[in-house]
Amino acid sequence: MDDFQSGEETSFVVDEVSSIIKEAIESAIGGNAYQHSKVNQWTTSVVEQTLSQLTKLGKPFKYIVTCVIMQKNGAGLHTASSCFWDNSSDGTCTVRWENKTMYCIVSAFGLAI
């Protein structure tokens, strides 16, 4: 009695997601310096672009994308996340990016339905 599995289609592929996130960050805040008035717009566009690219993959997943943008001022920052899910089908990918004036951390979580 074999178990038919869809294989590659229903698992979270970290590399694919990580490249999607990097592209989104580059295009939204690529060569910009930190500007308080624009941060809101930047976080929104990074997150929305990532989410729309993820949806285009067409996998049966619910996604949660979080973005943190912080000004470089010498202060320290730590992030941690803990998830209650199914290890075999769900996954996460976090990308850290920086330039001379700011840090950007984007995390994408994919939960199978």
């Binding site: 990074v46 730590h78 996340s81 803990s82 769900d90 979580f109």
Partner: protein, 139 residues
Amino acid sequence: MLHSRVSFSGLPLFQPILKTRLENTYKMQPDEGCKFDAGRVQRVLEGALASALGTTVYSPQGSAPLAQSLAELLQSQAKEVVPPRYKLVCNVLLGQQGQQSLLVASRALWDPESDSFASATFSNASLFAVATVHGVYFE
């Protein structure tokens, strides 16, 4: 359907572990009154952050494990108040209080009728913390 193996050489043979397969429950939505209660989870998060971080001082070495343990603590507390069949994603941001500015944003692709999130912040003289818990219904 039982599997069993016999060894003639006398060496130990481990029986294969049978994986239990669950049947489909065909439940697409949470029961009435059993949804993710964002207000309640937010209060739980605020209480937990305040009691865990009350007078803690930021230190570069100590804050990394602190953030991790905080994430696990918040997750276990959130699990108690959240209805069954919900998957949780808990994020904690712990930073040093300086003259910098920071913005946290999140978007999700989910079912707005059954899924939701809650967030809480805490700050004292030397550090600040932001905690977010997203609850997603598992069909």
